[in-house]
């Protein structure tokens, strides 16, 4: 038998630049790489010496699609250093901002990046001819996420209004009510999306790695907890201990540092699927039922199910956003959103949020003037790559064993990469 080489330069329909290299020799997978080929982006060094006021603005530019998460995470790290306690209203607005990026991210990933594979297209655009209704509704949901981010954060990406202590600007009650109605109106399509992705054929895989998600008792938290849970190993840790719990290590083929759990040595996935596994019971009722109907129940370790998990989260997020908007309009949250006063002081703080693509940690050490001494950023994709490579290998071995040819194996590997919803540019920071 001869060797089959699968080589994809700059895999399409993902954010950032990555190459896939798989070599199959005599029925054996001898090479299996997801090489992140981003140039060095150097954020962790560029923020050193900069004032805390600028740092969330700079960190935002790590990622165009989860910029809201980088901003909120960085602000939480800074507030941990200064000991700032924000109002309930500010917490609610931050949740809304993060949820806005969930709507943007999941709608973009599911329909613009992932769905074309299953529909036999090279991009989402042919849907304009083949299924204009689906395209219209998919883009409408994405537009709603943009609108939410724009109204809360000031623009659809790289939010302007979120600062240490609160927000510099807020919309009127009537606009919250209008948003709530738009969320309600989108629910039917989100529910249909769960069914759509359930009906796409995927290969049965079970990731060998672990899964990591933020947890809180009785909640499905995205930016209001400091506790992370490894779902499979079954232990929790405080976000402040992230460097003791998670090891980042270099691998020459990747411009990103990879990650594994220190206690178990296991690679892991952090994503919508990990959150659904960790906090299934706290999903909104509609979302939980939709998930159950689609066969997505914990424990679910097939990484392809991340597509369904994201669709389930669309349902969940729409419900939560509608409720948050109505409560904001009715002034039910204590306090105002204008920044609370605080005093600058030296220290170390950890910010932790669930970005749309998974757990995001920012660790900042500030000096007495509020300038950065040291910064460490751990993005979802940087954490996922080692586990993705393991899953790619498992998938390739399975398909080789079942006699599939190289072109089909390549397509399935690309689908798997997209199911992880990687942000390769983010992973290098």
């Amino acid at each position: 038998m001869t060797a089959t080489r699968i080589s994809v330069d700059h895999v399409a329909r993902v954010e950032g630049h990555g190459d896939i290299h798989v070599v199959i020799e005599n029925g054996e997978v001898t090479t299996c790489e997801m090489a992140v080929v981003e140039p060095a982006r150097l954020f962790e060094s560029m923020v050193v010496g900069r004032s805390f006021e600028e740092v969330p603005y700079i960190a935002s530019r790590v990622c165009g699609i989860c910029s809201a998460s980088h901003v909120v995470t960085d602000i939480r790290a800074i507030e941990a250093v200064f000991g700032v306690a924000v109002t309930d209203r500010t917490e609610a607005l931050r949740e809304l901002l993060v949820y806005g990026s969930y709507l943007q991210n999941h709608a973009t990933h599911l329909f613009v990046f992932a769905a074309p594979d299953f529909l036999g297209h090279k991009s989402v655009f042919p849907l304009a001819d083949t299924n204009p209704d689906l395209l219209e509704r998919a883009l409408g949901l994405k537009a709603l996420g943009n609108e939410l981010c724009t109204l809360v954060g000031g623009r659809s990406i790289h939010p302007i209004t979120a600062v240490v202590g609160g927000f510099t600007h807020e919309i009127e009650a009537a606009e919250y009510r209008r948003l709530a109605e738009a969320m309600d109106a989108s629910r039917a399509f989100a529910l249909a999306s769960v069914d759509l992705f359930r009906d796409f054929d995927t290969i049965a895989l079970e990731t060998a790695g672990d899964m990591l998600a933020m947890v809180a008792p009785g909640a499905y938290p995205v930016c209001t907890s400091d506790t992370a849970r490894f779902v499979r190993a079954g232990y929790e840790f405080a976000a402040a201990a992230v460097e003791e719990e998670i090891e980042e290590y270099p691998q020459g083929s990747s411009a990103a540092f990879l990650a594994r759990a220190r206690r178990t040595g296991a690679p892991y996935m952090t994503a919508a699927l990990a959150r659904v596994n960790a906090s299934w019971g706290a999903l909104c009722k509609d979302a939980r039922y939709a998930a159950a109907k689609a066969g997505l129940r914990p424990p679910e370790y097939n990484p392809f199910a991340n597509n369904i998990a994201q669709a389930v989260e669309l349902v969940d997020v729409l419900d939560r956003c509608a409720a948050l908007c109505r409560r904001l309009a009715a002034d039910e949250f204590a306090g105002a959103s204008a920044p609370v006063p605080f005093a600058v002081r030296a220290g170390v703080g950890t910010g932790f949020t669930e970005a749309p693509r998974g757990a995001l940690f920012h660790r900042l050490e500030l000096d007495g003037d509020g300038r950065v001494r040291r910064a460490s950023i751990l993005t979802p994709t940087a954490q996922n790559i080692a586990n993705l490579e393991g899953d790619m290998r498992q998938l390739a071995e399975k398909m080789v064993g079942e006699g599939y040819d190289g072109a089909l194996i390549r397509l399935e590997i690309e689908k798997l990469v997209r199911a992880y919803d990687p942000c390769l540019s983010c992973s290098v920071h």
Partner: protein, 261 residues
Amino acid sequence: MSENTATVGEARAPRVVLVGLASCFGCQINITNIERHLLAVLGQIELGYWQLTSSEPMPEAFDVAVIEGAVTTEEAAETVRALRERAACVIAIGSCAATGGIPAMAAGDLASHVEAVYGDGLPKACGVLRAPAPVSAVIDVDFTVSCCPIDPFEFVRVLDAALYGSNRLDVTATLCGQCAQGEGGCLYKRGQMCLGLVTRAGCGAKCPGLGRACNGCAGLSPDANVTAARAFAASRGFAPGRFDEALEMFNAVALAPAGEE
């Protein structure tokens, strides 16, 4: 895509490719964020390559190359040179491509930044690094869409100008002129340093309008008097150097002493 993209008037639809260099991909994402309008734009062109949204490979020939991101590697410099050779028109989009943007914060002392993040083990996958620079430092650029992120409608306007021509001139005024009407009043009165004094107008002064100082993402205005602006900031009690420090975020290359490039 569909048949209706085959021609514009009597001519073949212009073929457009979109390439991302070192960036957050946010400007490309923001182009997708015009949703329904995007389909109207795609109806006017033939989309030749856009890795973010399509698995169509890069075509041999194309008319317009849209470039996002700063040039931070020799490979990227080679890529933009190749794009320039083949494209009749090059459009640089976003602060990274236009001014070097945030990546250029590392331009001054690249080696120490690399060492701080990677130690002495820079992965091969990073490529051969060079001081981050705007696209215009490597090739001639025909059109620029400023800001971080770009306003996607501004992108459509510039693409339109590139394809069909326009007699509209680039804005040269500074942001302050646009901002004076802002209901919140000047941020300097509230004790904040704002770069609107020297930044190119055109964005509608969105940030000051929302209570946040301008950070200069649109680049320096050709009309800017940076010396006077520094003096003004100093007169408002900001320590010497603070104004230039703030400008480093998006204008590090423009601020660098001449002769470095």
